[in-house]
Amino acid sequence: MEYHGGTYDVIVVGAGHAGCEAGLAAARIGAKTLMITLNLDMVAFMPCNPSIGGPAKGIVVREIDALGGEMAKNIDKTYIQMRMLNTGKGPAVRALRAQADKFLYQHEMKKTLENEENLTLLQGKVERLIVEDGVCKGVITHTGAHYYAKAVVITTGTFLRGEIIIGDIKYSSGPNNQQPSIKLSEHLEELGFELVRFKTGTPPRVNSRSIDYSKTEIQPGDEVPRAFSYETTEYITDQLPCWLTYTTEATHRMIDENLHLSPMYSGMIKGTGPRYCPSIEDKIVRFHDKPRHQIFLEPEGRNTEEVYVQGLSTSLPEHIQRQILATIPGLERAQLMRAGYAIEYDAVVPTQLWPTLETKIVKHLYTAGQINGTSGYEEAAGQGLIAGINAARKALGKEELILSRSDAYIGVLIDDLVTKGTNEPYRLLTSRAEYRLLLRHDNADLRLTDIGYKIGLISDARYEKFLAKKAAIEKEKKRLQTFIIKPTPQVQEVIRKAGGSELKDGIRAADLLRRPEMTYEHIQLLAPAEEDIPADVIEQVEIQIKYEGYIEKSLQQVERLKKMENKKIPEDIDYDAITGLATEARQKLKQVRPLSIAQASRISGVNPADISILLVYLEQGRIARVSNE
């Protein structure tokens, strides 16, 4: 039965990690928002690892928080353990990772959605979009309801024509046996979108009571309280440990012998899988010499005995999975609760998007999350946030937001997607960022709170606190830059104990802090501050002073790039009218339609000569104006 279901500013399709951020951001900015999802019991569901954060990804979670998103707050309320990773390395690569109580995570997120003003949460299946004259005007559900809006965000994850594969069994399904989304996929093709087929997989789950933990190593959380959100003040103290075990020779033999049963090798799986998440059979084949692989046992929550077997992602037949489990110390008698599986799905080729995540083919339509060829909760959430912000701003007639590569990992992620596309499910890695010393875990607030505030996702109270922190950092830096430490016997004693060489003369506190063996604690002894300085301010002062030279170098690079970023390419440029462009470059430019010279120069296949020609062409307009005067 076709009927009019209602009119909104923004409609978000899907309530996964991308959808939740998109819906909340849009509603909080002031757009009347409708969220439609297949199953309300599966909001913010984690189909794989019950874990949030890690290198690069953890920094994205901090960025989401600084921009006023929800993921950080939600995991802070629901973790079972947290650890800071890479503490032995430099500040640029420190990253937080949490194990989530995945059920609690869903409940908390659902509660937040339900309580959000401006947000309507609805169960339903979107099958078509309402598109008029190339502009998206709304959606139509399987029940025939027509919902209208000024902008629509699609965040359907791995559901598009999803197919689950276990051994020689293959069936149409969304993740974890949820219903797939077939009609929507077909409709996107009808609209002219190019789709690709990707694949990912998940390991088996076992019952904790059947694990012999005595054969494994314990992996506890950090004792220091940690949090993702800059606003979190309460910490969960009773953390649950994870456990570490290893594959054995018997495991590898078992896999070798049954490789012919793997759909990966029988040719049944055609989608491209991610290299960074290989299945166990992949690992054994590609790294045949490695005697053992790590297996982490991760509890899925506090109120369940289900344990996630990290490292054992596989699509081998169920009975082989049982035999493999039995070869692993601690899991000899493990009771299989869910078999591992691979899933194939459609994704939108992301070069069909503008950096705002609006599609080029249909205006006012945005896509975010795994549908754009990424993988991972954090990648999805980051995109969801940006798409939600931009959809709302579009609906409210405001200018859209694009984060640059030097602003945030989220900027790197989106720029990579829309500029280079991807041949495999895309995951963020720290090595994808050229300015990672600038994109740190600790300074996400300094980078992005201003933007979050301007957009309207950061409260006045929070912003004032932020400004106070910034002022305190500057004040303390200034103090250390002017405070002279004299070579008194006590001073020499402190320096000697720290393993440094004694002072010959007075030295500015900041300069002493730059010595590798010196920490702020030492400096505090030698140049005590008059007032108490909060730990987060100290952290900034220490990092900013200690790594000033390197930070400066990165900033110079950014400055150079900015010039190119500022050279805008008009959207209506006609690449066919530009003589001299190489054929490949012309094709790529027509496809990606970069918004700036900097973005153009990042497209593979566009070389410096093409950029020069483009520049000359762009300058023609300017010069014409000059000579007309």
């Binding site: 390991p203 720290t430 390197y550 020069s612 000579s627």
Partner: protein
């Protein structure tokens, strides 16, 4: 990037007997000041615009005098590019021009891309709109040509070495990265400062070695090796003198006297030539008679281009025919000289022997046919007939400048390691060095690091 200071050798045709290193951009004058010592010690930044100054180019690294020069200073906006422009006029031949260029590049300028001065002139509104298309063609044509030349050069030892160094750095980077992105993998060995230092030191040493060979070997031997062969008295030395004279050569050596082989560097319509002639042996004609062909054969072997000279005024000899046989498979231009005298040579037979290769008639005495000859040389080079066996000067200086920068980056990495800076930060300089080396061989794709990561280590859930 667009408006940094650029530099290149420019020897505009018919514009004087000197080679010019031209700088354009904001830092043109400060860079020139860094390496220029004027008489009376005056600073270029203080002189009025559009003035010329005499002095010396000094390497600030070691105080060595490189070259005696005239420097013109032209301040924006009344210059070709509408930026500050400095032109360093060198008298000392191609080699010393090159040294000056290198010095400019190591002191903060970037080597201009082909057509870049013109492009800037255009971008800064100096050239009018109607020339836009021409500029585009220029950029395209010159870049492609430069790329082609660069690529053919890169087949050699240098490119192999650079690829090897990049791979070494890349593996190290991947190792650092894997420690960062997958900290929970306890079976990947932690990249230590010690290990990193070893790798970085190795790379630095190798770059230093490359720089040495570049300075001793490549620079000295640059230019297209061009042999002038022919029987005695056909006009070989005259040809050489003519080419040198016509091009107001950047010549340091005085031809003649006692040496066996004379080498001259000339720039013929943008093509750098190293001309080789057996002029010095002329005094003892009879010796030449005996060893002429033998010697010619040797010269032919080493040459990229051969100018085979015949005498219009004499019938072809057995010896002439032997010379044609000796240049089989080489790039050859046949020159039939002395057309001012009566014809005794059988031109049809000459064309037959030339087998499609250009035949130019000249009278060196009356300076006729030289334009045609130069045209033929330029055409051969720019249509890709001649493979430059040695590096041309432009690319060479570019390589050297990049090697210097790569070395500097790796030295900064080593300093960081020694100061105990965390590895993931030292890695910034390591990456920079890897990128700079990549620019030499035209390969800077960042993606390869990620590929390396996943092929070198076993990772995943």
């Amino acid at each position: 990037m667009e408006f940094d200071t650029i530099a290149a050798i420019s020897t505009p045709m018919g514009e004087g007997a000197i080679a010019i290193v031209r700088l354009s951009g904001e830092k043109a004058i400060p860079i020139a000041d860094r390496i220029f010592k004027g008489v009376g010690g005056k600073q270029l930044k203080e002189v009025p615009s559009h003035t010329i100054h005499y002095g010396h180019i000094i390497d600030p690294a070691n105080g060595q005098t490189i070259e005696e020069v005239m420097v013109s200073v032209m301040k924006a906006p009344k210059t070709f590019t509408r930026e500050d422009v400095v032109e360093i006029n060198c008298h000392g031949g191609l080699m010393s021009v090159n040294r000056v260029l290198q010095l400019v590049l190591t002191n903060g300028a970037r080597l201009a891309e082909p057509g870049e001065f013109t492009k800037r002139a255009f971008l800064n509104g100096r050239i009018d709109l109607s020339q836009a298309e021409a500029v585009i063609d220029l950029i395209r044509a010159k870049t492609d040509r430069a790329m082609h030349v660069a690529l053919s050069q890169m087949e050699g030892r240098l490119s192999k070495m650079i690829r090897h160094l990049r791979q070494t750095i890349l593996e190290t980077l991947a190792h650092v990265e894997v420690n960062i992105d997958y900290p929970e993998y306890d079976d990947v060995e932690e990249m230590t400062h010690q290990l990193l230092r070893e790798k970085a030191t190795y790379v630095r040493e190798q770059i230093e070695r490359l720089l040495q060979t570049a300075q001793q070997g490549k620079i000295l031997r640059e230019g297209l090796a061009t042999a002038i062969i022919g029987r005695p008295n056909v006009g070989k030395s005259s040809l050489l003198n003519n080419l040198v004279h016509e091009n107001k050569a950047i010549v340091t050596d005085i031809p003649g006297t006692t040496r066996d082989v004379i080498e001259e560097y000339v720039n013929v319509r943008g093509v750098p030539l190293k001309l080789i002639d057996t002029a010095g042996i002329r005094e003892t004609e009879d010796i030449v008679e005996r060893i002429g062909v033998e010697r010619s054969k040797q010269m032919v072997k080493a040459a990229d281009l051969i100018l085979l000279v015949l005498n219009y005024n004499e019938p072809l000899t057995e010896e002439d025919e032997q010379l044609f046989a000796a240049v089989e498979g080489k790039e050859v231009i046949v020159i039939v000289n002395k057309t001012d005298l009566p014809q005794k040579i059988e031109m049809e037979r000459v064309r037959e022997l030339a087998a499609g290769r250009p035949v130019i008639t000249t009278s060196l005495l009356e300076e006729k046919g030289i334009d045609e000859l130069e045209e033929a040389i330029a055409r051969l080079f720019f249509t890709g007939g001649v493979e430059a066996g040695d590096l041309t000067y432009v690319s060479n200086s570019r390589h050297i400048a990049l090697l210097h920068q790569a070395k500097q980056a790796i030295e900064e990495a080593i300093t960081g390691i020694e100061a105990g800076v965390p590895i993931d930060i030292v890695q910034i300089d390591l990456t920079r060095s890897w990128e700079l080396l990549g620019e030499i061989i035209g390969d800077t794709v960042h993606e390869s690091l990620i590929d390396q990561l996943f092929s070198q280590f076993c990772l995943g859930k």
